[in-house]
Symmetry: C2
C-alpha cells in the first residue's frame, strides 16, 4: 500500500524512527554474532489489566499494519544514524534493505482481551521482528487504553450517542488516534476534523462560549448561528444565565431548535430544569447535550436524566485514569541456529520482581459455557484442543510481509459490540473488580 | 519557515485539521454576522494545577510556533470540508487564504506557571484567532503535563542523569513530543530515535531481555554485545540470576565495563548488592542504571542507593498521574465593531459551576521578596505597576504573523532550571500541597 493512499493529514513517509535505539544496537550485535537470522516468535500481551477493570479492548491493529508497511529507512534517516554513530556500516546496509517479510497473527481489532492474551504474535528472523517492538507497542498501548475507556463509557451511555471531543487535551496526533479508538470502542462521532479526514469518522461541532462573548448580546450570537447553520443547530446555553438562554434560544430558533448544550454546573439538576423549560416552550423535540468533564461514572449517574447525548473530552483521551495499556513485546521462542528449518525452543525471562513471562508460541481461544456465554480465556502452546478449535482468537494479519487483513473501521466497531455482549453480564459493571474471564494456560504435553 | 526545515521524521504539510469542527462553524457564523473581524484577545491559562502539584512547567511553545506557521488549508483539506458540508463556500474561500497575521505573547518555554498565569495571549481578528484554539491547547496541554512530571523527577534525581524511555507507552508521535518536553524538564537523554532526529536530543540504548534470550547462554549475549559495542556498553543483568550475570558481565567486558542495567526486583536492595559485587570484582567505575517502573517517588527513594542513572518510561509519558494540563483558551477581550481602531472591552463567561473566567487583556509578573526569591505570581489588566515592570513574564513570540522567538531547546531547558531555582524551597518537595506561589490579581482602576 502506498502511503499516499492512507490519506493522512500528516503524511507518514516512514515509521522506522519511532523506535528505541536499543532495537538497532541489538540488531548490530546479533548481525555480528551470527544470531540475527534465528527464526523467532515475539508476542504482545499484558500481565494485568488496569486496576479494577473487567476487560481490555484491542485497538490500533489497523494502525499497526500501516506502521509495518511503512517501516523502512530512507536516506535521511540512515544519514542520521550514521552521523550519530548509532550503528555501524554493516548494520546501515542491512537497514537500507529492510522490509518485514514475516508473519503476524493477532486478535482482530475491537476484540476484548485479558491478562496473558497473546494480542499479537510476530514471527520472522530475530532481526526483522525486534525492530518493530517500539512502534507496535506505542500504537497498541495508546489506542487500546483509549478504546477500553470508550467501551465503558459506551456501556454507561446505553443507546445515547457519545461525542469524542478530547483533541485539545492530548497531543495533536494522539488525538486523531484517540478519536479512532473511541469509535472502535463505541463512540458515535468526533469533534476532530483530522479524524474525519483520515478515518472517515463523522464529525460534529457548532460553537463555544467565545462565540457568545464575541457578540454584544447572547441573542445576537444565537441569531448569527441559526442564520447560517439553521434551527437544527445546537446552541450553547450556559455562558450567562441558563434559563434566560434557553428562552432566547427557542425564541430565535423556534421550537424546531435541534439541541441545547450544557457545559457547566450540576448537569443532573440543570438537565431536568432545561427539559422542563423546553417542553413548556413547546420545544419538545429539542435535544439536550451535556459536555462537562464527563467520565463513565458521570455518564452513568445521568442515566435517568433527560439527556440525549454526551460529549466527552479529557477522560476519554486520557483513558479515564489509565492512559496506557501496559502491553509488552516479548521473545517467547526462537531457533537454536540460523537454519530456516531449525526447530523453535521456548524462552522466557526468569521470575524476578514479577516480570516473568510464559515461553512458547501461543494460541488463544475463548471457551463458552452451556449458554454460549464466554467463561474463560484459554491460552496454550502446542496443538489446540479439538473442542476449542472453532473458538480461536488469533487471525492472520500479515503473511510473508503482506498485509492480508485490512478492514473498514466499522467492522472493528461492530466486532467490539459483539465481543462485549458475549461476556458475562458483570463485564459492564463500572465498579472495580477482577477480570471478568479467568485466563487458563494449557501447556504442551512434552517435546520442546 | 519551510516545513522541510523542521527536519521532521513525519513531515507536517499542515496543522489546520488538528482542529475541532466548531472553530470552523463559529467562523462561518461570524463571517455571516459581520463579527468575524472584531479585534480579539484570547488567553491560555489553567484554573488549577493538578492536585497536590506545586508549580507547572510551560512546554511546547516552540511546537506551537511551528503549528501556527503551518496552519493553512491545502486543496485536499478544503475538498474534505466541502464534501462533508462542514462549512459553506464563502468560508472555504476565506480558509483558502488563511495565514495568521496577529500577535502572540507568551511565557517563554521552560518557565514555571501557576493557576491563572496567562501562558499565551493571542491577538488578532476573532476569525484568525479562534481557529488556533484546538491545536495550541493540544500541544501545550500535552507537553506541559510531561514537562511538569519530568521536572519533579529531575529534582528527585539531583545530579544523576535521567533517561527518557517511554516511547512504547504512548502514541508514537506523542512520544517524540514527550521526549522533547522531558528534555525541557531536565532529562538528559532519550531512547527515542525520532526525538533525536527531530530535536537533536541525545539518544541512548543498548539491549533488552530478548537479546539475552536469543542466545544459548547469557555469556554469549554479553560477548556479542561487548564485541560490537565495546566494554563501555551497558549490560542488562536481570534476565536470569543477577549475581551470576554481574560476574559474567565483568568476566566478559573486564573491569572497564561501562554499566549494568537492572530492570526488575527490589531496586534498592539489588543496587546495593550489585554495587558491592562490582567493587569486589574490581569494576569500581562500572555504573548502575535502574529502569523498572520508576516515578519521582521511586527515584527519591533511591537517593541513598548506589545508583548512577535512572531510566523512566510509563510515568514520564503519562505525566506521573496527570497526563494533561487542563489549560483552556478563552476570549478575554474584543472590540465592539470590526473597525481596527475600536477599543477592546473585557468579556468573560459568568460564574456557573466553577468555569468562570477573568476578563481583560492581561500582563503577568513574578514578584520577588527581599532575598530575591519569588513570592507571588501577579496577574493584571491595564498598566503594569512600575515596581514589577522588569519582572514581566510574557515575551513576544509572534509579531504580525511572523515568528520572532525561535530558540534552541537547550535555552528552554536552562530557563527551566533557573526558574525553578528561583522558587521557594518547598517547590521541589514531592508531597502534595498548594501551589508554591499565590496568584494575585491586580485590576485596572477604571475605564473599560
Amino acid at each position: 500500500m502506498n502511503t499516499a493512499d492512507l490519506g493522512l493529514p500528516v503524511d507518514v513517509p516512514s515509521t522506522a524512527l519511532f523506535t528505541d535505539q536499543y532495537e538497532l544496537t541489538m540488531l548490530q550485535a546479533a548481525l555480528k554474532a551470527g544470531t540475527a537470522e534465528r527464526r523467532s516468535v515475539f508476542e504482545v500481551f499484558t500481565r494485568r489489566l488496569p486496576e479494577g477493570r473487567r476487560y481490555g479492548v484491542v485497538a490500533g491493529t489497523g494502525r499497526v499494519l500501516d506502521a509495518v508497511e511503512n517501516f523502512r529507512f530512507d536516506e535521511g534517516q540512515l544519514g542520521f544514524l550514521r552521523e550519530q554513530r548509532i550503528v555501524d556500516e554493516e548494520t546501515l546496509a542491512w537497514l537500507a534493505d529492510y522490509r518485514f517479510t514475516g508473519d503476524i497473527w493477532g486478535y482482530p481489532e475491537g476484540e476484548v482481551y485479558f491478562p496473558g492474551s497473546p494480542i499479537l504474535r510476530v514471527e520472522g528472523s530475530f532481526a526483522e521482528c525486534v525492530l518493530l517492538e517500539t512502534v507496535m507497542l506505542s500504537i497498541l498501548n495508546h489506542d487500546s487504553a483509549i478504546a477500553a475507556a470508550a467501551s465503558r463509557m459506551a456501556s454507561a451511555a446505553g443507546e445515547r450517542p457519545l461525542i469524542e471531543m478530547g483533541a485539545r487535551r492530548t497531543h495533536e496526533l494522539a488525538a486523531v488516534a484517540a478519536a479512532r479508538a473511541a469509535y472502535v470502542g463505541g463512540f458515535a462521532t468526533t469533534s476532530d476534523l483530522a479524524a474525519g479526514f483520515r478515518y472517515g469518522i463523522p464529525t460534529v461541532g457548532t460553537s463555544a462560549h467565545a462565540f457568545t462573548l464575541l457578540h454584544d448580546h447572547e441573542r445576537d450570537a444565537f441569531r448569527a448561528q441559526v442564520d447560517t447553520l439553521g434551527p437544527g443547530t445546537t446552541l450553547l446555553v450556559d455562558t450567562y444565565d441558563v434559563a434566560e438562554a434557553v428562552r432566547t434560544a427557542v425564541e430565535v430558533a423556534g421550537p424546531e431548535l435541534g439541541a441545547v448544550r450544557i457545559d457547566s454546573g450540576d448537569l443532573l439538576l440543570v438537565a431536568h430544569r432545561v427539559r422542563q423549560q423546553l417542553d413548556e416552550l413547546g420545544a419538545t423535540e429539542t435535544r439536550i447535550v451535556v459536555t462537562s468533564d464527563l467520565d463513565e461514572y458521570a455518564i452513568a449517574s445521568l442515566a435517568a436524566a433527560p439527556v440525549d447525548a454526551y460529549g466527552v473530552g479529557t477522560q476519554l483521551v486520557t483513558g479515564s485514569g489509565h492512559p496506557t495499556a501496559s502491553m509488552v513485546y516479548k521473545l517467547v521462542a526462537r531457533a537454536e541456529t540460523a537454519d530456516p528449518g531449525a526447530p523453535l525452543v521456548s524462552v522466557a525471562k526468569k521470575s524476578s520482581g514479577g516480570k516473568a513471562s510464559v515461553g512458547g508460541r501461543k494460541w488463544a481461544a475463548r471457551r463458552l459455557d452451556a449458554d454460549g456465554v464466554a467463561e474463560a480465556e484459554v491460552v496454550g502452546t502446542g496443538a489446540v484442543p479439538a473442542q476449542l478449535a472453532d473458538r480461536q482468537l488469533l487471525v492472520r494479519l500479515v503473511e510473508a510481509g503482506r498485509v492480508v487483513a485490512r478492514e473498514p473501521l466499522d467492522v472493528a466497531r461492530e466486532r467490539h459490540i459483539a465481543a462485549r455482549a458475549n461476556l458475562p453480564l458483570s463485564a459492564t459493571q463500572l465498579s472495580r473488580g477482577e477480570p471478568v474471564l479467568p485466563t487458563e494456560y494449557v501447556h504442551e504435553r512434552s517435546g520442546s
